[in-house]
Structure formats: C-alpha cells, structure tokens
C-alpha cells in the first residue's frame, strides 16, 4: 500500500463522440478550486486516451467521464477491454445525459455497470464526497467491482 498522495488527482473528460465541454470545464474549475489536481482531457476522449492518462497518473483516484449527447453507451464500448487489460485501475464515474431522447424511463444503469462503470452521478457537486467514499477501504475499486 502506497501513501496517500498530497495532491489528489482525478482524470476528467467527455466520452469519445461528445463535444459538449461547458459542464466539463466548470467541473474542472470547481474541483481545482477545491484542491484537486484535475487532468482534464476535454471533449471527445476515447478510452485509449483515458488509459494513457491513467498510465501517466497512476495515482488518479478516479476517471470521471461526462456524456451529454446521448452516445454514452456506444462511446464506452472499449471500456471492458481496457479494464480487463488493467489499463484503468481506478473507479470510473459517469455523469450527464446518458441516452438519446427525452423520455429517460428506459435508461438502464445496469448496462453501464456491466461495461465497468462504478458509479453514475447526476449532480457534479457530489463528486468530492463520492471520491472520498472511494478512498474508504470498504469502497476501494477492487471491492466495488
């Protein structure tokens, strides 16, 4: 077990086909103003890019993926392989507008959990508390999955 890093790092980005960055930039600003080191990959970030970033920042506490354009599910198709290959060793948090259409009754969180998403959040203000939660031993990635 390594020591807690002094600065807490998170990796942030929008899903692969998604160009919406307003919420993304506000979340980055806000986490930074709360002391986090945010590696913001911005718009249209493939799983491979997230993996590279994780490789460069293995101390990252989570990969936080936003998706607003409705393509979350297709955009995360490479996630299971990346996780299987050990390329993303921290929890993946997903948030935004996760399906196409205005009737969200059919959105099925299970589908995303099956791809390897630990947590689906709607309110970005819950991110710090959620990250804290993941650090408590009972909620470390290995156990969560």
């Amino acid at each position: 077990m390594r020591n807690e890093p002094v600065t807490r790092t998170v990796i942030l980005g929008m899903a692969a086909s998604d160009a919406h960055v307003v919420a993304n930039q506000l979340i980055a600003h806000s986490l930074r103003s709360q002391g986090f080191h945010v590696v913001n990959l911005g718009a249209c970030t493939s799983i491979a890019e997230f993996a590279t970033a994780y490789d460069e920042h293995p101390d990252a506490e989570a990969v936080i993926i936003g998706s607003l354009n409705g393509h979350a599910y297709e955009d995360l198709q490479d996630l299971p392989a990346a996780r299987a290959d050990g390329l993303l060793g921290c929890p993946v948090i997903l948030g935004g507008n996760l399906s196409v259409g205005s009737n969200k009754e059919a959105v099925d969180d299970e589908r995303f959990h099956a791809l390897g998403v630990e947590m689906i959040l709607s309110d970005p203000e819950l991110l710090p508390a959620t990250l804290d939660g993941f650090r408590s031993p009972s909620a470390r990635p290995a156990e969560v999955r």
Binding site: H29, G70, N97, V107
Partner: protein
C-alpha cells in the same frame, strides 16, 4: 432495400451534372429560393432541427413535421459519430439499435436514401451537423439533391472536436465551398449556413459575428452565392436585435455585393429551462426576436430541449408556437430603438476590431490560423485545443453578454473600457471559486428568471412528456 439496415457500402456519388438535373426535376424550390421568398414576403422562414438514426423513421419524422407544422425548410441533423468521421461506430449503432443515434447517419445510409428523404417532402432540406471535415458528408448531401449545408472551417471545428488543427478543417471546408462555387456556376445555388452559434453558451455577439464574417469572406471567395449567417439568441433583447441587424451591415461592408446574405436566428442555444411552460415562454420570445430583428429564418427549439432529442410532437409544437411570431396582428409592437442603436454601434465596432486585422493578412486561411494561435481570435468554452479559450464572458446586471476577460483579442481601449464598466460589479476574475459560481449563474440565466432550481433532473417528469396524450 428494407429501409432499416444500412447498405453495406455507401454507393459512389453520381456525376454533378446528373445531380443538378435531379435537383431541377425535383419540383421543389431550393433553400436559397425559399429564403429569398420569405425575405420578400417579410416573414420569418421556420425550420426545426430533426434527425433520428433509422431511415424509415427519419422519413416518417420529416413527413409528420411537414404535414402538421408546415415548416419552410426541413433538416437532417446528423449524428455525432458521423460528424467526427466515426463512420464505423455510426454503422455499428445503426445495426444494433438505430434509436441510440443522436442523428441521421447520412453517409452510412448513402445518397440514394438521401434522395428518398428529399422526395418525401415538398420543402427543401438542409444538412446540419458539426463536422470539422465534412467533405464526405457534403458529397453525399449534394448527391441527395440537398440545397443547404451548414458549417464552416472555424465554426464546425472549435465547438465540435478536440484535436483537429484549424489548417485541416479550413482546408476541408474550402473544398466544400469551392464545390458550392462550381455548382453555382453551373446554375445550382447551395445555401451555406455559417454556424455563428459556436459553443452556444454565453457567446459574445461580436465573437459570433466576427467568426461568421471571416467564414463568409472565405466561402464567397470560393464562389458561394448564398450565405446564411446564424446568430444564437443570447437572451438580452436589444443586444440580440442589434446583432441581427448587424448582419446586413457587415455583409455590405465585407462581402461582395452579388452575394445573398440572410440573417438566421437560432432560438436560445444555452441551458434551457425544464418546465414546459418556461421553455415555451423562451421559444416564443426567440421567435418574436427573429421577427423584430429582421431575421430571414429561425431555427426552432422544443419544450424538451433540456431533456434530450425531442419527439415529433414536441417538435411540431415548437414550430407552431414559433409560427405565431409571423402573425399579422403584432405590428403594434415597438421597443427601445435607442438602446438597440447603441448596441449596434458597439457590436459593429468590436467586430471590426476583431476581423479587420485578420482580413488584412496576405492569406486569409493562414491569417485565421495564426490569429487563433496568438489568441487574437478566440472563442469561449472551446472544445478544441486550437482555440485558447482565454475569453471569459459574463452577463451584465441587465443580462447583456459582455467580456469579463477578452484574452488577447485586439480590442481598443474604448471597447475594453466599455466591457469593464458594464461588468464593474462582477468581482475579481482571479478569484476562481467566485468566478465559476458567477459564470454558472450566468449560464443558468433563464432558469433563474423562471425560478427553476439549477439542479438538473436529467429524467423529465413523465407527465411533462406524456401530459397531452391523456386528454
């Protein structure tokens, strides 16, 4: 063709001559003709956004919209895989479940299906997308006989992709424009709408207009004859009217006389209120703005905007509500012309300060590229690395959008002072926490006006969606 699964290989486009003859034989006006007629009649042409993955459902959607809402132009909104040339992903989703696509994958369906859509309705179509490199899509669009195409080398790059260099997108769009020029010479005018909406959220009017001026100059130099300059409603009435009125002034100033230029209003493109009644207030407001600002065309929104791609019914209702703005009974409305005049003067001044140095560059495309590099051109909230996004917009107390930070934009001392003064109470931009808070509140402008919580229930009250079906 079962109309559901895509053809395995999208067919090669036919020769241009065949396409031109096809458009002539279609028996419908071109988009440019519809726009001219609307302007001559003094009414605002109406157009929805609409695009679903499945071909047969797209056909039904267009037909239903035409039948029930009589728009002047219809849209193929393209899915975001296709926009980014992720054609394989578009095909994969189309095969798995077309409903999961956020638009119509025209390239994957191919131009023969594009023609089917074109023939399904009596009004012209426009392709709306967001592709930094739209050459494939444009080819398919032209082959489909579609006479209006949105985008530009700046406006369809910076808001829509992360890592496409401007040189690439500018070159790709130069090809698109040049093909428009060729078609124009052969007698077919393609309306080219420039996406002045950019990143949609708190875009200062002078940024929107300046980028459009540069794209308009570029495209008309390639032979484009009909330019639609889109401006996104910002939310401050007089500022928005002034921006719309600036469009013909800028056209007269910077574009060749023989080019037809239309002002297009995009109904509010930022964070939309969630409650149906609030959304409808905003929709009507936008439509009135289009009329009063003298726009030729209005792109409508729906009361489901905050939730997701609207269903057909919501889209129809949005169009019908907006069409009230064409009412012959509203001539009594007047407004604060003095304020509009002042805003017009300011915005023209800002645009001039932004574009004129770039227009002086020996090569326009290089001039644009290097200006963005140096931050002398810039946009807020860029998705792309190729804009600095050093601009920080804020709303003045009256709701007008001003520059809190203008980065390296080449503004005069007068312009800087004016912006500074109107945001005097907006606090210290270097206090990051406060700044994010203030910015968020400005983004939530209409939510605040309507007293909606900023919290975002991404799942609508099913009643909101269904309520009308129960009566």
């Amino acid at each position: 063709m079962n109309g559901v699964s895509p053809p395995p290989i999208p067919p090669e486009p036919p020769p241009l001559a065949e396409t031109i003859a096809y458009v002539r034989g279609l028996g419908k006006p071109t988009a440019a003709e519809v726009l001219r007629a609307a302007r001559d009649a003094g009414r605002v042409a109406l157009q929805p956004r609409c695009g679903v993955g499945s071909h047969s459902q797209m056909t039904t959607l267009l037909r239903d919209l035409e039948r029930h809402a009589r728009p002047d132009i219809l849209t193929l909104t393209i899915d975001s895989h296709t926009r980014l040339r992720r054609f394989d992903n578009a095909r994969a989703v189309l095969l798995r479940n077309p409903a999961e696509l956020n638009g119509y994958p025209l390239v994957t369906h191919g131009w023969p299906r594009g023609r089917e859509l074109n023939e399904a309705v009596s009004v012209p179509l426009e392709v709306r997308h967001g592709s930094p490199d739209a050459r494939r899509l444009f080819e398919t669009s032209v082959a489909s006989g579609i006479t209006s195409f949105e985008g530009g080398g700046i406006s369809y790059n910076l808001p829509y992709s992360k890592a496409v260099p401007l040189s690439e997108s500018l070159a790709a769009w130069r090809d698109v424009d040049a093909l428009c020029g060729e078609l124009a010479e052969r007698g077919l005018t393609i309306d080219r709408e420039l996406f002045g909406t950019l990143t949609a959220v708190l875009v200062p009017p002078s940024i929107s207009l300046a980028i459009s001026v540069l794209e308009a100059v570029a495209s008309t130099r390639e032979g484009v004859r009909c330019v639609s300059v889109a401006y996104p409603q910002g939310g401050h009435f007089e500022q928005d009217v002034a921006a719309l009125r600036a469009i013909p002034v800028l056209a007269a100033r910077y574009l060749p006389e023989e080019v037809e230029v239309h002002a297009v209003l995009h109904e509010f493109m930022g964070l939309f209120p969630k409650e149906r009644s609030h959304a409808e207030d905003l929709i009507l407001y936008g439509a009135l703005l289009a009329r009063l600002g003298g726009a030729t065309k209005l792109i409508t929104k729906t009361y489901l905007e905050a939730y997701g791609i609207p269903d057909t019914r919501a889209n129809i209702d949005g169009l019908l509500l907006a069409s009230r703005a064409n009412s012959p009974l509203l001539d009594f409305i007047s407004f604060d012309e003095d304020r509009v005049g002042a805003e017009l003067e300011w915005v023209l001044e800002e645009v001039a300060e932004i574009v004129e140095p770039v227009l002086e560059a020996p090569d326009l495309y290089e001039g644009i590229e290097s200006a963005f590099e140096r931050g002398r051109l810039d946009i807020p909230f860029s998705a792309s690395r190729y804009a600095r996004s050093a601009i920080i917009p804020r709303r003045a107390p009256d709701g007008a959008i001003r520059y809190l930070e203008s980065g390296a934009l080449p503004f005069s001392e007068r312009t800087l002072r004016r912006n500074r003064e109107s945001l005097a109470d907006r606090g210290d931009p270097s206090d990051m926490g406060a700044m994010v808070k203030g910015l968020t509140s400005d983004i939530n402008h209409f939510l605040n006006i309507f007293g909606e919580g900023a919290g975002a229930p991404t799942r609508p009250d099913p009643e909101v969606v269904e309520q009308y079906r129960h009566t």
